[in-house]
Subunit: 208 residues, 2 copies
Amino acid sequence: MSEPAEISPLTLSRLPLYLRCLRQLQEKGTTHVSSSQLAQQFELSASLIRKDLAQFGEFGIRGTGYRVDELVDRLNGLLGLDRIHKMAVVGMGSLGSALARYLSVNDRPFKIVAAFDVDGGRVGSKLGHLIVHHSREIPEVIPETGARIAVLAVPASAAQKCYEDLTDSGIEAVLNFAPIRLKRNPAVRTKSVDFQIYLEELAYFLRS
Amino acid sequence: MSEPAEISPLTLSRLPLYLRCLRQLQEKGTTHVSSSQLAQQFELSASLIRKDLAQFGEFGIRGTGYRVDELVDRLNGLLGLDRIHKMAVVGMGSLGSALARYLSVNDRPFKIVAAFDVDGGRVGSKLGHLIVHHSREIPEVIPETGARIAVLAVPASAAQKCYEDLTDSGIEAVLNFAPIRLKRNPAVRTKSVDFQIYLEELAYFLRS
DNA sequence: ACCCGCTTGTGAACCATGTCACAAGCGTCT
DNA sequence: AGACGCTTGTGACATGGTTCACAAGCGGGT
Ligand SMILES: NC(=O)c1ccc[n+]([C@@H]2O[C@H](COP(=O)([O-])OP(=O)(O)OC[C@H]3O[C@@H](n4cnc5c(N)ncnc54)[C@H](O)[C@@H]3O)[C@@H](O)[C@H]2O)c1
Ligand SMILES: NC(=O)c1ccc[n+]([C@@H]2O[C@H](COP(=O)([O-])OP(=O)(O)OC[C@H]3O[C@@H](n4cnc5c(N)ncnc54)[C@H](O)[C@@H]3O)[C@@H](O)[C@H]2O)c1
């Protein structure tokens, strides 16, 4: 079976997970792993793993399982993690700063190349060797730096405006942390991470 | 139709979303809204909204739509947001501190009652009027404070251990931010928010 | 009082996703 | 070389979720 035109979103959401598990095995020195071993160890379903992986060609070995290194490389390639992704962070408050710091440390394939805020106290300050720009400079700075992914960490009230500025200046994917339902630009991959909603979801189970 | 024994997880994940949209309308002074208005305004599906809501009894008005206030109250009740939820935060690094600060401001139904870390520099420091405890005190402090939800913001290497300490001391729901696949306690509602994975998912669309 | 336009609630059709079961295939051991 | 044990890849099935289409029902206007 060769490359499908489109990966199902649910399959896609599991690939990074598999990758993480495999990296963990890799560090332990495991060279081969079967779908059922993976499943047991990480509470996944063996047949689902096989089905997910089989979409991209046969690279398991019957009777043996998968070669960990090869699978990691293959998934890295599939997900586009085999090259640097330049990112911008908008909103350098407590969350934005935490994210920026986090990405400077764990930056395997992701690299922050621009940061924005509007607060006089933050604009101009340095983030490592990076300067925090004023948000109004988004239209110029984004193309200059070549950032394609943006992280939105501004207050909800500013999020829609910032989102539009970002997508207008060529950003292709946005990870939004503001607790708001964005009016999306269909040409831009947009994902929202909504802490408040996760908590509310958990709260449901505690009604007792 | 009366209360179902169990809400489907996908329906559940949309209820907080509806709630958010409705609160927004409420602030604007809108008193009534139809499923199709909601759908258009927030890019949802009208029939899905109706189906989700109809599970909890008929409280729409045919020909008119839903009363915003009533729907908000009803969803608040359903999700258990009509009372205070006491929470603990474990790991007061940059993310934990941001979350704690965030929750102190936006604490409609969620209230932080305990904070933990292991770092000598942070243990004993104050978070508002709260003292940061050492993690080894989890077993005593959690029951004392009555926290039922925990937010895990420790490094991946410490996450499994902390998770187990928390669940052993009576925590009933955990929101985990560490980039690791936890071995779950089936009695505890566990949700992971994995920034890294979201980014990797977005990266896929930028392979071009 | 009745009609009419609108919207809900809901069965049925449709679609996606996950599970199961097994044939096909690899490697090893005799 | 042949048989055996194990694991993949995959069609058939089951499950669950979403969309569709429409009857039932409300409210306002005449
Ligand atoms: N802090 C958290 O733990 C947390 C958790 C979940 C979600 N969030 C959400 O993330 C967002 C940021 O949270 P935070 O705690 O960092 O808030 P914060 O107030 O600390 O930071 C917000 C930052 O955005 C800046 N800003 C405002 N308007 C801007 C604009 N137009 N362009 C660029 N920057 C702008 C502000 O100057 C400030 O520095 C909020 O929407 C919040 O709801 C935060
Ligand atoms: N910072 C971010 O933006 C971000 C984003 C996504 C995920 N995360 C994840 O969240 C976690 C925390 O990130 P961070 O940036 O705040 O890291 P951090 O290093 O700033 O903070 C971690 C904190 O946990 C404390 N800690 C360590 N072991 C502990 C234990 N056993 N009990 C209690 N506390 C303990 C440390 O003392 C430290 O204060 C990490 O797993 C990280 O991967 C962080």
